[in-house]
């Protein structure tokens, strides 16, 4: 296995976080907010 330098590890880490963060930044889609609301309070008619 190749021994990677810290700069390459850092670069891979940065790419990884960029890819991941792009999805995280989209926030919580409404379907999940409504679903948990209904689970939490079955009487609530979440739309």
């Amino acid at each position: 296995m190749v021994n990677l330098g810290p700069d390459i590890k850092a670069k891979i880490g940065m790419q990884l976080r960029l890819m991941y963060g792009e999805v995280v930044d989209r926030g919580v889609p409404d379907r999940f907010v409504q679903m948990l609301k209904r689970l939490d309070d079955p009487n609530c008619e979440g739309r």
Binding site: M1, L4, I12, Y20, V24, L39
Partner: protein, 189 residues
């Protein structure tokens, strides 16, 4: 208001990261969202098995991973993006280079064995410690460390990274510039 308001809030907080993890596992946004939904339903229904005081986020990731793997065993296919939905969904990024870089990087990730990929993402992007990642994946800490190292090496190999600056779509440009600058002087004369 339900008594489990706090649980609901903690679960909602975990959703963006769970989605990012799910997308990186299955490569398809719609399927990832179904996976997250199933995870939340399972977690809610099995709240009794959650140990208070432990990391709920890690618990949710464990459920999601197990669901994905059992689904995978059934389907016998792991990474798919048949409709290109992930690449198409990358519209929020303003810079073309960032989009290209992410798509290229994600494509490289899909070439890794699933155990290496999930280990690298859990530690390198989701922010879990090696210990937590080991707990999520149900293996030894040393195994996670080894998988992360192998994943990094393989990615460097796939993306042809020899130096930190030799990375992403810009490296092609950099290489073409190198070729141009190393062309014999006076060629057109």
């Amino acid at each position: 208001m339900g008594l489990r308001k706090n649980v609901r809030e903690v679960m909602l907080e975990a959703v963006p990261s769970l989605r990012a993890f799910a997308i990186s596992l299955c490569g398809n946004v719609d399927r990832a969202d179904d996976l997250v939904q199933e995870t939340l339903l399972r977690a809610w229904g099995n709240m009794g098995s959650f140990q208070p005081g432990t990391n709920m986020s890690a618990w949710l990731f464990t459920i999601l991973r197990n669901l994905f793997r059992s689904e995978y065993r059934k389907r016998r296919r792991e990474v798919e993006d048949v409709d290109g939905s992930y690449a198409e969904s990358l519209t929020s990024l303003p810079e073309q280079n960032s989009r290209l870089e992410i798509v290229e990087f994600r494509d490289a990730l899909t070439l890794l064995p699933s155990e290496q990929r999930e280990s690298l993402i859990l530690v390198g992007a989701s922010g879990f410690s090696y210990e937590e990642a080991a707990q999520i994946c149900g293996c030894a800490v040393g195994t996670i460390k080894s998988r992360v190292n192998r994943a990094r090496s393989r990615l460097a190999e796939i993306l042809s990274i020899d130096r930190a600056c030799d990375f992403g779509p810009n490296r092609k440009l950099a290489r073409s510039q190198i070729r141009i600058s190393s062309a014999p002087i006076g060629l057109d004369r």
